[in-house]
């Protein structure tokens, strides 16, 4: 077990103070790593809260360049960064906030050629992609490597969160065995505070999985409805004929 320095004990004293969290959970975080793909409106806040909590190492994966319409939610980016690649901007923001963080930022999304390497170097994956193909790819790889995946997605004012724990829980393919033909990655609105809320919840869930603190959403789908401010929890089940986990 790693030890906490005087600086770390001071920096994290307010969370160490939480009953049941303590120095033990903080030491576990210091020994932990996570992949966040991607780092836009959802993954950006996820990465930031993990960095703030004292995780040892983050791996980011996000391709493409910043556009003006990203700036209502992608809070790791810079206002003067439009037209520039996103991964280095996220890297810079996180390093400035937490210089102690070990960080590796890939300038591309998770794809078949890199997914094994991305997942293989971390303890846990936070799936924050806006694309079902990428999500299902990460799901299958996490299942293959036996890595937990915190699965977060949103649409308009609604957000979903669950934790996939191979081999115990349903996997993403159990609930999304096919992608409907009407689904459009840009076919819904986004108010930045909604993926921001979900990002904070995703980080909280990841911290709990990594430290063993509290109850996690294994086999449970949390649905946040930002329109009427309700949180609902639903029990989800495995698909008996699932090609990934069945």
């Amino acid at each position: 077990m790693v030890e906490l320095t005087e600086w770390e004990l001071e920096k994290f004293k307010r969370q160490i103070q939480i009953p049941g969290f303590g120095e033990e959970a903080q030491r576990k975080l210091k020994a932990s790593s996570a992949l966040v793909t991607r780092v836009g409106g959802l993954g950006g806040p996820t990465a930031m809260w993990l960095a703030a909590a004292g995780i040892r190492r983050l791996v980011l994966a996000h391709g493409g360049t910043l556009t003006p319409s990203n700036l209502n939610r992608q809070i790791l980016m810079r206002g003067d960064g439009v037209g520039k690649p996103r991964a280095p901007q996220a890297d810079e923001t996180l390093r400035r906030f937490n210089p102690d963080l070990e960080l590796k930022a890939y300038g591309e999304d998770a794809k078949p050629h890199n997914v094994a390497e991305l997942v293989g170097q971390v303890d846990l994956v936070c799936d924050c992609s806006p694309d079902f193909g990428e999500r299902l790819l990460l799901n299958a790889e996490c299942w293959r490597q036996g890595k937990p995946m915190v699965e977060a997605g949103m649409n308009g004012m609604e957000a979903h969160l669950t934790t996939i724990l191979p081999p115990h829980t349903p996997c993403l393919q159990c609930t999304v065995p096919e992608v409907p033909d009407w689904w459009d990655p840009l076919g819904f609105g986004v108010l930045g505070a909604v993926p921001g809320t979900l990002g904070a919840l995703t980080a909280l869930e990841a911290i709990k999985v990594l430290t063993g603190f509290g109850e996690i959403l294994a086999g449970t789908l949390l649905v946040f409805d930002g329109e009427d401010m309700t949180f609902s929890k639903f029990a989800i089940s495995k698909r008996p004929d699932c090609p990934v986990c069945g």
């Binding site: 991607r38 836009g40 409106g41 959802l42 993954g43 924050c128 992609s129 806006p130 694309d131 079902f132 999500r135 977060a152 997605g153 949103m154 649409n155 308009g156 609604e158 957000a159 979903h160 609930t175 999304v176 065995p177 096919e178 992608v179 409907p180 033909d181 009407w182 689904w183 990655p185 076919g187 819904f188 986004v190 993926p195 789908l221 649905v223 409805d225 329109e227 009427d228 609902s232 929890k233 639903f234 029990a235 989800i236 089940s237 698909r239």
Partner: protein
């Protein structure tokens, strides 16, 4: 009568209603319930819930009183039940 909570694009198809009521006098299957919803809210709801072959999209998740209903044909939904119809979401 059953209360049905709608999410995402389905809420939009139902004129922005978060919760709707469906007339159910005796137990129905989830497919039958979704057919009623599609009849109630028209073509947009029909397209969101049913594929071109007339089957319910497999990625539509139906919750009955907080539990996922896997069997689409069993008559598991009765008067007084609370149903949630969840569409797949992938926004980041």
């Amino acid at each position: 009568m059953v209360k049905v909570k709608l999410f995402a694009n389905l809420r939009e198809a139902a004129n922005g209603q978060r919760v709707v009521e469906c007339a159910v006098e005796e137990p129905v299957s989830t497919t039958e319930l979704l057919r009623k919803l599609a009849d109630q809210y028209g073509e947009k709801a029909q397209k969101l819930l049913f594929d071109k072959g007339g089957g319910v999209w497999q990625s539509i998740v139906i919750m009955r009183n907080g539990e996922m209903v896997r069997d689409r044909e069993a008559k598991t939904i009765g008067p007084g039940d609370e149903i949630a119809v969840l569409l797949p979401v992938a926004g980041g």
